[in-house]
């Protein structure tokens, strides 16, 4: 059975900010599913609809079989939500936050207390259990956020940008904990991220989201496998003037060429053979090259392939 079904969601904010434009995907029970996309792609809006905070303009969604619009209370009982912007009470202790969450979810006091201690232990927060949250470090606070989402043993956990704003060390630790969690608790997890590495690392399946729609879906490996060959990125000294892509495209062994500003992305059969050919062809036509890299396809390239745009530049353009 599918734990989450999203079918044709649409949402427009104000008059013309189209956040969702026919978003559809499904997540089977027990899976860790990643929504990957740049800022402003519609990931958070999708999650907010699934956790019953926001109402869609059109389309439908169910979580563990309950319609999010018509049975919000049943959905709320089944889910844990870890929002991008924390949501824990800074003026209360970690333990108090957990207990309140448990009580609002209808847990009995004895059960709530036992579960709170268990989670504080699991997220290495036992020492901080009776300290006010405002004294927590960024990583500790984020771990408490996740623990709060897990308090009532939900069937589905929503993690909205779980590691944004964390330093690399805390991010690595969080990834460690989330992987452990996904394996240990029988839990469906939907996580949104704009870190390609994070989706690659944590998600069994990924949906790539761009401008309010899913543009590609599959396991990270399958998505990468679809892109045969290797990726050659050529950074030009000046903006591509239309001549450079045509030159590269005409060469043998080139599968695909995409341009993004000064960067030229070529998918090739064999990187090592293609690079000298590309360089000499460009040089012969007087196109100056600033840098060249060869790599195995990453989710970066998958994103580029499906949207025709570079992930980083989209992310910056999306803002937030």
């Amino acid at each position: 059975m599918d734990a989450i079904v999203v079918d044709g969601l649409e949402k427009t904010y104000g008059k013309d900010v189209r956040a969702l434009d026919g978003m559809s995907f499904a997540v089977p029970e027990g899976q860790v599913f990643g929504l990957l996309g740049p800022n402003g792609a519609g990931k958070s809006t999708t999650v907010r609809i699934l956790v019953t905070l926001t109402r869609p303009d059109a389309g439908a969604a169910t979580v563990v079989g309950h319609d999010v619009a018509r049975e919000p209370t049943a959905v709320r009982r089944a889910i844990g939500y870890v929002p991008q912007a924390s949501g824990v009470d800074r003026e209360a202790t970690g333990r108090e936050n957990l207990l309140l969450q448990g009580h609002l979810q209808g847990m009995r006091s004895a059960d709530a207390e036992q579960r709170a201690d268990e989670l504080l232990e699991l997220f290495a927060l036992s020492e901080k259990r009776d300290a006010l949250v405002r004294t927590y470090s960024g990583g500790q606070k984020r771990r408490l956020d996740v623990a709060t989402g897990l308090m009532h043993r939900p069937q589905v956990l929503f993690l909205d940008e779980p590691t944004t704003g964390l330093d690399p060390e805390a991010r690595a630790a969080m990834w460690e904990e989330l992987s452990r969690l996904a394996a240990a608790e029988k839990l469906t997890i939907l996580l949104t991220t704009h870190y390609l590495e994070e989706a690659d690392r944590l998600a069994e399946r990924v949906a790539i989201v761009s401008r309010g729609q899913v543009v590609a879906e599959g396991s990270p490996d399958a998505l990468k496998r679809e892109l045969r060959g290797e990726a050659v990125t050529v950074e030009l000294a000046a903006a591509a003037d239309g001549k450079a892509p045509a030159i590269v495209e005409s060469l043998p062994g080139i599968l695909e060429v995409l341009v993004d500003g000064r960067r030229l992305h070529a998918r090739v059969e064999h990187g090592a053979q293609a690079v000298p050919t590309i360089l000499s062809a460009l040089d012969a036509e007087g196109v100056h090259v600033a840098a060249v890299t060869v790599s195995r396809p990453s989710l970066d390239d998958v994103y580029l392939h499906y949207t025709g745009r570079d992930f980083r530049s989209d992310d910056e353009a999306g803002g937030s």
């Binding site: 709320r76 889910i79 939500y81 929002p83 949501g87 009470d89 209360a92 009580h103 609002l104 979810q105």
Partner: protein
């Protein structure tokens, strides 16, 4: 789980947070203390005019200042809600089965309790200055009226907070309403000395209802019937602003 249990847990949370910084309760008392200590001295001889029902202005003023403190304090209650909105706490509550009415009620009940505590402090200071406030029945009525007016204005304030979601707007509204409501009441002066057009308008002012209830037992010719009517009106006022706050919550959710 019922809305009442949820209100209880959420009420405990806000009370606990407040008790960690009890300075706020005291802070809200600074201004009323100036009125009680200085204004009462400045206008000490005002009771030479007829209509006060007592020759001691401090006797007359103390219940009024208790009410003033309560309604000022209630009208700022929305600030805590704005902080919760900004920090995502409200959204987290909304993704649990907790009811909107419970989230709002917790704040309103808290304001009622805080207003009662503040009124009690005002009465104790008044007592030190010689105002007996009509003994035990008088104190009970004053504290009840203070709690209700504090809770009533907290409902209004929370409604405004949920509609505007901005501290600046909240501050503007609280400042805008406080002085007119103070002057269209008999908090500072005998009602027979108020110009008749202001007195007529004061009859629809919930602050005036609470002052009249609070003074009912303090001044001679106690009319328990009238006190009862005013207390019922205050309870209805609190229910009304609570409904307004819950309605505002719905309107806030539509913007999400």
């Amino acid at each position: 789980m019922t809305a009442i249990t949820q209100t209880g847990f959420l009420f405990l949370r806000v009370m606990r947070n407040l008790m960690r910084q009890p300075i706020w309760i005291v802070f809200m008392l600074v201004q009323p203390m100036f009125w009680l200590l200085l204004y009462s001295q400045l206008f000490r001889r005002i009771t030479d005019l007829p209509g006060f029902g007592t020759h001691s202005y401090i006797d007359y003023l103390t219940p009024g200042i208790a009410i003033m403190t309560a309604f000022f304090s209630g009208s700022w209650a929305g600030m805590g809600t704005i902080e919760d909105l900004d920090r995502g706490v409200v959204e987290r509550f909304l993704t649990t089965p907790a009811r909107r009415s419970a989230i709002v009620s917790a704040r309103i009940v808290q304001s009622g309790v805080v207003a009662t505590i503040q009124a009690l402090i005002v009465l104790l200071v008044g007592l030190a200055l010689g105002a007996t406030n009509g003994g035990a029945p008088g104190w009970i009525v004053i504290l009840l009226a203070s709690g209700l007016i504090g809770a009533g204005f907290a409902g209004f304030s929370n409604g405004v907070a949920l509609l505007t979601r901005r501290e600046e707007s909240m501050i503007a509204v609280a400042n805008f309403i406080s002085l007119p409501l103070l002057f269209f009441s008999s908090i500072l002066i005998a009602k027979s000395l108020i110009p008749s057009w202001m007195r007529s308008l004061s009859l629809v002012n919930p602050v005036e209802w609470s002052v009249r209830a609070a003074r009912g037992q303090v001044l001679p010719h106690t009319d328990w019937g009238a006190i009862g009517v005013y207390l019922v009106l205050l309870a209805l006022f609190t229910l009304g602003t609570g409904a307004f706050a819950t309605w505002s919550f719905r309107s806030y959710q539509r913007t999400l």
